[in-house]
Amino acid sequence: MKKQALFLLLVAVLTVLSCIKKEDDADNQAKLNVNFKADYSSDPLLMFDRVYDYEDAMQLKFQLFQFYISNLRLIRVIDAGQTEEIPVLNVDLISFADVYTDAEAAAGISSDPISIPPGTYSGLKMGIGLTPELNATQPKDYKSGHPLSENYWDDANSYIYFKVEGLTDLDGDGELANKLTFHVGSEANYREMTFSKPFTVAEQEEVTLSFLIDMYQLLVDEETGSFLNFREVQASHSNTSPSAAFLADRFPKAIVLQ
């Protein structure tokens, strides 16, 4: 009888063991949400649905605004005065292509939630565009649907870091019929930024980092009075054109961490 009971116990244990799935031990992590919103001065930035006043009596409408962020690292305070960088996001494509309404603009664009170690942080570092290492890859290196499975520019051996597309009215007839397309890539146009943002997050808590990018600040340098003059240039497919460099240089000025 004992043998039978042991035999049955063995069978039962084997059966149960075969069905058990290992669970991820994520209980001791915190969660980071990264959100981007876009404005034009104080107005929400909408695609298609809004006309914005621009320099030199021009007006603008937007159809597409997107950019890559890469190498996002949190700066963790580990001891008095000492910090370490915690890589949290390798790359993402932030696209406002489907932001048509004020509500959609208010919601912004969010990356997938990221697990981070709980602790005290003083800020973060991030690149606009792609690090040289990422830009040396190609879509064939990624799964379909990955942010880097698209937007590759073979001729330039580069991804397109950011795109601004829209319409303007150059002749002042009230019809925004002049097309604007600015596509910029290449390592020279990658920009690193550091943001100060002290916060503490505990296990299983969530923290959201909200970025705001101002399209007006991207197009206009109020300090010098220079701006992207659409009367002179309506398109850029060149990574080395003055307009490409202007936009790349403006990105750090146009983004704030709220």
């Binding site: 695609m47 298609f48 159809q63 190609q138 379909s144 073979d154 001729d155 829209g166 397309t181």
Partner: protein, 345 residues
């Protein structure tokens, strides 16, 4: 004593059955490894419908079998012909009642890489969802799934094929969702990546002078040459960015005036009215006529449309603008487009 022996035997038998059940090998069809072309991203095959030799074979049989249509005369392949890049030669596909459909049949090359919605308007998120719709569309196969399921269950061959592909236990287990899974598996194997363009990129062939010039125009490769703006949306390796855009086909006064609202009819967003899937240009020379309604019979007409800048409306894409291409430019561009034909496909 005899009773105890019977008791023991019962326990042993119960234990043995439990062990046999626990150790029973799961249904395991033959896995199929999709060959990824070198320049392509890694395809994402859904966990719930991994490719198998048996599933693909079943999907292929179903794809070419008119059993899915009301009158048993029309199969998927009636509108997606292998010799035409899995598209067809009609402006609008014709269904079982001889009535024209609403749109041109989209070619089916490289569907394993399409992840932003299917159909011209993106109304189905996956191939599994897409495969369910044409069967009951009154302008396509016009059948009822309940009838099709009954036909398949009573068929002399299909029950065994479904068992081999999906491990069904009885004929009644055959349903529309397994049909869609099988069709999706087959469609994911339709890979086109051996055109002259691919061979040149791999260093195995060379463009002619005209093709090379056309490539420069297509990719806006030179500041000194005309820019075709083609690759902004039709970028390799798929030659589509899978987005939904308005390319200025129709003159309209307002966004509500589009005769076919396309993407906007699916999501109710007015700025998506008149927007359609950017189709892949792979095998484009074999997939005439062109556009969602097949309005252009030739590549010459297509190139002329883009050269003109199309009709303006507020959501026509910013890249659609007059191109100022010469006759030579247009001929060279078409020469390049012809290099996208994969004669093995």
């Amino acid at each position: 004593m005899i009773q105890r022996k019977k008791y023991n035997k019962t326990w042993y038998l119960f234990g043995l059955m439990l062990l046999v059940w626990a150790c029973q090998p799961a249904f395991k069809p033959t896995p199929f490894a999709l060959q990824k072309p070198a320049a392509f991203p890694i395809p994402v095959i859904p966990d719930s419908n991994q490719l198998t030799v048996e599933g693909i074979a079943l999907g292929r049989k179903l794809f070419f079998d008119p059993i899915l249509s009301k009158d048993k005369k029309q199969s998927c392949s009636s509108c997606h012909l292998p010799g035409r890049g899995f598209g067809d030669h009609r402006a609008l596909s014709v269904g079982v009642h001889g009535l024209p459909g609403k749109r041109n049949a989209l070619p089916l090359a490289n569907m394993a890489w399409f992840y932003k919605g299917l159909f011209w308007d993106g109304r189905s998120a996956t191939l599994e969802q897409q495969a369910l719709l044409p069967v009951e569309d009154s302008l396509e196969m016009a059948a009822e799934w309940a009838v099709v399921e009954r036909r398949l269950r009573q068929h002399p061959e299909y029950p065994l094929l479904f068992k081999q592909a999906f491990g069904i236990r009885k004929e009644e287990d055959i349903d529309r969702y397994l049909v869609a899974k099988a069709l999706a598996q087959y469609e994911r194997t339709l890979v086109s990546a051996n055109s002259k363009f691919d061979q040149v990129m791999a260093g195995q062939a060379e463009f002619t002078e005209s093709e090379a010039r056309g490539k420069t125009i297509f990719f806006d490769s030179s500041e000194e040459m005309p820019q075709g703006e083609c690759a902004n949306c039709h970028n390799p390796p798929l030659f589509t960015d899978l987005r939904f855009l308005n390319n200025g086909l129709d003159p309209v006064n307002t966004l509500e005036d589009y005769p076919d609202k396309g993407r906007g009819a699916v999501n109710g967003k007015k700025y998506d009215n008149g927007r359609f899937r950017v189709p892949s240009l792979r095998n484009v020379a074999r997939t005439a006529p062109y556009m969602h309604d097949g309005r252009f019979k030739t590549l010459e007409e297509v190139v002329e449309h883009y050269n003109s800048g199309g009709h303006f409306s507020e959501n026509v894409d910013a890249k659609i603008k007059p191109l100022q291409l010469s006759e030579q430019d247009k001929a060279d561009l078409i020469a390049f487009l012809n290099t996208l034909t994969d004669f093995d496909f």
